[in-house]
Symmetry: C2
C-alpha cells in the first residue's frame, strides 16, 4: 500500500474491526533493544534464554504493544488519531519468527470529545493469544488520505 | 554500568523506587517506526507534523511505554521479572531531544505468585508528566548479577 487513510469519528461503527500483522525477526528484537535500551539477556543472549523458563530468546512484550499502537495509528481509526490510553495484559511469549496479528474492534463511542474505545487482541500464527487490552483514542474529525512514508532502511552492524 | 542486577521479591519494599532516563533522538523515532511499522507522518514528516495540533514531529507514545518496560526489566525488579500487565495513560507529547525519566514505585506485593504492582510515571526534562500507569510483574525469586549485554550498533541509511 502506498497510501494511508483513516476512518473519521462519524464513520466508525460499534463492532468495526481491523487487522495488522507483523512477522518478528531477530533484527526486530535487536532494534527494540537499541531503541528502548532494554538489553535484558532473555531477549539478547541465546544461552541465558535457554536456561530461562522460556527456553529460548523471546521478544520484548512491549514490542507487541508497539504493533497495537501501529494498528491504531495506521488502520483504525488511522492517521489523525490521538492516543489517550492503553492497557496491555501479556498472556504468552512471542518468539523469533512468530507472526503477530493484532485485531482491533470498536467497542464504545463517546460523542463528547470524539473518544473511541477499542478492544485489542494480538495472536501468534498458531492462534495463541499473546497480548490483550483496550485502547482509548480521540478519533479524527475529518477523512484523510496521505502518501505512506517509506519504512526507514536500517542496518545492524 | 557493565552489569545488571535485580531486586528479588523478598527484598522489595513498598515505596521502593527506581529511575531510568533516555534522551529521545531523531534516530529513535526512525528506529521505532522501523520496528513497529508505524510510519504515521506525525512522527516521520516534519511538514505534515507542522500542520498538526502538535506543531512538530512527536515520538510514538509507545516509545515511552518501551522505556517503562526497560526500567522494569533492567532496574526494578530487574532481570528475571515476568511482565504480566501494563496500563499507560498518555498525557503529553514527547518531542525530539526530550529526555524522558521513568520513575517506578513499588505499591503492592502479593506473596502468592510473587506478584508486584508498580506505579509508573514518565516526565520530560521540564517536569511535565508524559505517561503514567501501573505495571504488574512476577518478581524474581533469586538475586542475580549478570554481565550487561552491549547495546547493538545500528545505522540508518
Amino acid at each position: 500500500m502506498t497510501s494511508l487513510s483513516n476512518v473519521p469519528y462519524d464513520s466508525l461503527t460499534i463492532g468495526q474491526t481491523a487487522r495488522y500483522s507483523r512477522r518478528v525477526e531477530e533484527r526486530d528484537i535487536t532494534l527494540f533493544a537499541a531503541v528502548s535500551g532494554d538489553v535484558n539477556p532473555v531477549h539478547m543472549d541465546a544461552d541465558f534464554a535457554a536456561a530461562s523458563p522460556f527456553k529460548e530468546r523471546i521478544a520484548h512484550g512491549m514490542l507487541t504493544g508497539a504493533f497495537i499502537s501501529a494498528a491504531l495509528a495506521l488502520e483504525l481509526p488511522g492517521p489523525g488519531s490521538v492516543y489517550l490510553s492503553q492497557s496491555l495484559r501479556f498472556t504468552a511469549p512471542v518468539k523469533i519468527d512468530d507472526t503477530v496479528t493484532v485485531t482491533l474492534e470498536v467497542i464504545e463511542k463517546i460523542d463528547k470529545g470524539r473518544k473511541v474505545t477499542l478492544a485489542c487482541h494480538a495472536h501468534n500464527q498458531e492462534g495463541t493469544l499473546v497480548v490483550e487490552g483496550e485502547a482509548q483514542v480521540i478519533a479524527p474529525k475529518r477523512s484523510v488520505t496521505l502518501p505512506r512514508p517509506p519504512l526507514p532502511d536500517i542496518s545492524i552492524r
